[in-house]
């Protein structure tokens, strides 16, 4: 049960119940769709970028608790950040969820404040894609991808 509690932390359950920044963003400058065909998770990320910073972000989607909470927490984390900062965050987030070495993983997440609640995902490798789907989609939006992102 404790490993499960590490995965499904209070913060995560709270964001599933009350997702932040959810819904479409009128006048978005960037947008991308992502999906995970394995489980049918879908997410759309809307960005409004002004002067190289994320002025606003919203997401729409359906999926498991991990992917929904990840999208919700991500939108909070990236607001007002520059594009380069956001990409670096994703790099650290990814390392935090996948690094072989436990310490490397912990260090990567340590800088990410609230996003550290996803540390438990590392123990559940098949769920890493759920947590990273919103981020992959975000990067696609930044790249102005026109193709839907797939995690499979």
């Amino acid at each position: 049960m404790s490993e499960l509690r590490d995965l499904y932390q209070e913060v995560i359950l709270d964001h599933v119940k009350r997702p932040r920044n959810s819904g479409a963003l009128a006048g978005a400058s960037h947008r991308a769709d992502g999906d995970n065909p394995l489980c049918g998770d879908k997410v759309t990320i809307f960005l409004s970028i002004e002067d190289g910073r994320i002025a606003d972000v919203r997401f729409q989607g359906r999926g498991c608790a991990i992917s929904l909470a990840s999208a919700s927490l991500m939108t909070e984390a990236i607001k007002d950040k520059t594009e380069a900062e956001v990409r670096a965050m994703f790099e650290r987030f990814h390392t935090g969820l996948t690094a072989r070495d436990e310490e490397d993983a912990a260090n990567a997440l340590a800088d990410l404040d609230k996003l550290a609640v996803f540390g438990g995902v590392r123990e559940f490798p098949v769920r890493v894609k759920c947590a990273t789907l919103p981020w992959h989609t975000l990067v696609a939006a930044l790249d102005r991808a026109t193709q839907p992102v797939k995690t499979e």
């Binding site: 049960m1 490993e3 499960l4 509690r5 995965l7 499904y8 359950l13 394995l38 489980c39 049918g40 998770d41 359906r62 999926g63 498991c64 608790a65 991990i66 559940f124 098949v126 769920r127 759920c130």
Partner: protein, 417 residues
Amino acid sequence: MSARQAVTASRSLDVARIRADFPILSRRVHGKRLVFLDSAASAQKPQAVIDTERHFYEAEYANVHRGVYWLSQRATDAYEAAREKVRGLLNARETREIVFVRGATEAINLVAQSYGRTFLSAGDEVLITHMEHHANIVPWQMLRDEKGIVLKVAPIDDAGELDLDAFARLIGPRTKLIAVTHVANALGTVLPVEAVTRLAKMYGIPVLIDGCQAVPHQAVDVQALDCDFYVFSGHKLYGPTGIGVLYGKAALLAAMPPWQGGGDMIRAVTFEKTEYNELPWKFEAGTPHFAGAVGLGAAIAYVQSIGYDAIATHESELLAYAIRELSKINSLRIIGQPRRRSGVVSFDLGGVHPHDIGTILDHDGICVRAGHHCAQPTMDRFGVAATVRASFAIYNDRDDVDALVAGLSTVREVFRL
């Protein structure tokens, strides 16, 4: 079923003995007893199948239909003996009506590509149901895109039953093939295939039945059913992966062109002309998966040694118990309430995403399927993106059901349902 009957039933099938036949069931997962409830995706293998495959490779292996030497003849005999076992399983009239393929998917594609491309033309209709596996949808869509045929879909009701009246109304002068599943893999509905073939025969329309989820649970008699094609996958019947069966009536198979060309399917080749081999080898181009076929033969022998009566009694008792116990769980909704159900139960628990449920159950060593079960139209019909599906086989027992129920209470605890 009364308590006394249940006792008799479980005596006629000794689950403990059967469990001992499946080596994987004694392994532990995450330190817990393995509770395998995903046999509808693929069943575990009994020692008899593993030993047969191993012995075949160790002692009887050589390519089939090729060598003049003793060993090749031996392997060929084993391969053809497996075909005879399949014939017996389905009660087909002749062994040449049994074509070995990779699985049900390949069998349906074979029929679509060979029969469909030859005998169907633009405007002709193929009738399927709303609860097919993608394997019995996509090959017909490919044929539609290539030939301009029309795909008609018979509706199902809220219980997950085929609407037989609507089905009958969809049969028209352009209906050239009916393709239905015997048991729906996402819902567990047993379809009235006898009524379907009876209807079809009134109009002289050939019927293909997808028997993937039926053959592990019930006796099938293709002559009594009077179907034209029947397909299944060996791996769901306790056999190896990569081997499956297409049964087709001899007259139909004979009229169909081969769908792949190569060795084994020919009688004589010159650069001007090729004479095709006779049935069933006409449809088995290249070196077939004969080792898999031999393993499938052993799986069939194993199932027959237990007997379908004992299997059906055990499984229906267990399924009834599972449904009874699951129904006691608050906020659990079973998807589909068919009158005749076989093998599987699909459900939603308080809107928690099936993947989260799957992860939590896995933590307790419980394997269930979480997703759309390759039946997205069925999911859409019930307004869900995915479900959790528990499926049952000969080796499951009440302890497995109890473990599932306990695991679901952990889900409720984690998600505060």
